[in-house]
Symmetry: C2
């Protein structure tokens, strides 16, 4: 039984756990739209299957939502331990259109279903229409048997990170963007985040990573490793436009205290060298009006921060042979209690996001 609940998680004693807390499972969406994913999405499907396999191999139940057209192919392409369910979507970003799950102390789990407008609606959004994506959170809640809150604000899951102890990280570039909630002030948005996520304090960064088409999702620049510790996408190259963004974020993070009054330890995670779309990659996409073009030479917003914390493991994107090993070692130092598993992620990045963007955890209740 899945009810639509009229109150708020905070009022009912629910909170969003940190991603590093135990999971019951993880949801993903199978990519297929040929105006975003090259070569009929086949290379992306291989990458998504590897991510699903890496999460499932750690003992976490992965559910892949797949369109009717791709159902048999996806079922045949995925390991048996991945659950495959039919779902119509507009693209493949479960982090952003899926529900944000909240839990209470009594072992209950509910879903928060945010309004989704494809990262900006008709004012800079990435495709039209996005109606199917906006229904995804409700459909996931039905299958999970989770009661659901419909939050009255536009928000994508990738725009927020929490420490599970009252603190939320986000960016002004995204949450204060007039293409999301133009009628709400910063104060009013903070109130909604408190009400729907059970948090107390918001730490605002200014920008997301350079050239991030999501309008600066925090999950591609900074995340919590655990309460009191964050990881920041970093470059020492002062000529790179990422440098000023990361330096400004560092300043805000060093000045911040979290909901428990702690200062934050900041781990700098060096980014890979700039990654550009090749001619061949651009040619593999079917361009259509209304969908963000994929042009040769465009720089992709590559960041190792865009990993997923699965049970007992980190699933990290492999982005460049020159820097992958260093990034892996850095994550191993930050997470000595977890295995770090790398997955080739260029094909995910070409679609506009990375491992974290294509996953959404179901926290243990």
């Amino acid at each position: 039984m899945t009810r639509l609940i009229d109150s708020t998680p905070a009022a009912d004693g629910f909170r969003m756990p940190g991603e590093f807390e135990p999971h019951e499972g993880c949801w993903m969406i199978w990519p297929e739209r040929t105006d975003n994913w090259r070569l009929g999405a086949k290379p992306a499907q291989t990458a998504f299957a590897q991510v699903a396999g890496a999460i499932a191999a750690g003992g976490e139940q992965v559910t892949m939502a797949v369109s009717s057209r791709q159902y048999e192919h996806a079922r045949n392409s995925l390991p048996a331990e991945v659950r495959v369910v039919e779902m119509t979507t507009d693209d493949a970003w479960m982090r952003d259109c899926g529900p944000t799950f909240v839990v209470d102390g009594a072992g209950r789990r509910r879903g928060v279903d945010w309004v989704f407008n494809a990262w900006g609606g008709l004012d800079g959004g990435l495709y039209f229409p996005w109606k199917n994506d906006d229904l995804v959170a409700g459909k996931v809640c039905e299958i999970e048997g989770a009661d659901r809150y419909r939050a009255p604000i536009v928000l994508e899951g990738g725009a927020i990170h929490v420490d599970g102890e009252g603190t939320l990280l986000t960016t002004e570039e995204c949450l204060l963007n007039p293409n999301r909630n133009p009628s709400l002030s910063r104060q009013q948005i903070e109130e909604q985040l408190r009400a729907f996520l059970g948090i107390e304090r918001v730490i605002w960064l200014i920008h997301g990573s350079f050239n991030d088409e999501t309008d600066g999702h925090v999950d591609n620049i900074c995340c919590f490793a655990r309460p009191g510790e964050v990881i920041l996408n970093w470059t020492d190259d002062v000529r790179d436009p990422q440098h000023a963004i990361s330096a400004a974020a560092l300043e805000r993070l060093e000045r911040a205290t979290d909901a428990r009054g702690r200062s934050l330890t900041v781990h700098k995670l060096p980014m890979p060298p700039p990654i550009l779309i090749t001619e061949e990659e651009a040619r593999g996409v079917d361009p259509v009006e209304g969908t963000l073009p994929r042009l040769a030479g465009d720089r992709l917003a590559a960041s190792y921060v865009n990993y997923y914390v699965a049970n007992e493991r980190i699933v990290m994107p492999l982005l460049d042979e020159r820097t992958d090993a260093e990034a892996r070692r850095a994550l191993e130092r930050i997470f000595p209690e977890r295995d770090v598993v790398g997955v080739p992620a260029r094909e995910i990045l070409l679609g506009g996001g990375n491992v974290h963007c294509i996953t959404q955890q179901v926290p243990a209740a």
Copy 2:
């Protein structure tokens, strides 16, 4: 985790329980095709929603499989306690395209996924194509987390009834029809039924009910009330073509012994007066080539035997004011331990089946 299993239920110690044994839930499909259901399927949707509500009200979890197009409307039309999941289908007969669940003594439950050919394929089948329907059983098993056997024969769930103690009821008209498994003998079909349902003995009736477009599904003429007792669709009117069919079935049933060596008690359940499609009803359907036409004056295969046994209740079709009360009293006498709940079912009957045909139980493990 859902695996495709290469052995058979019988070899693995599984059996199909009787429908009257406890259920964990029930699956249905939301009707929508306008070449079968009149007036855009709206009257049928109301009837299906009433069936779902009646089952759910008895404390049984109902899951409704709904196309992407109808998802929001179905969610809004159904009680909150009905779970709604997206699924592409060709029509709305979960009994026939859904999995047959089998259980073992160790608390495990698996699904049997029969080959589905829309009641006869290109040789008298009811529509083309039927590819989506043939995928339904696998999709249901994924969501239920049930390992799955793919049985190598054409069979619909409405073509069989079992007593859960080794006996199966079916009809020659259906299972020996050359449009199902032309290369298999009666003996070979019995072997498949033994292997995939864990039964030992098959009781063959000759025909299903008069003018039944399924080629004589047993679930519209005869079923087990409990081991050793069957209910038979009946008429005393010797001029009605149903009389000879029912009389022949009675003879077979009276001669039969079940897998435990018992003779059968036969409860005759009088059918309603003949029900014909009206001019107005026929006009509400969009006729297309390849789908069975719905013509004014055609007689429908109305039978009170086509009920569903839910937990603690019988959900029976209401078919004619002149006979509904008598049928209800008969079922109350046969099932003194259950409530008998009637649901207006003419709109279901107009589509070619009834309450039993649109439901598929998930037995308790």
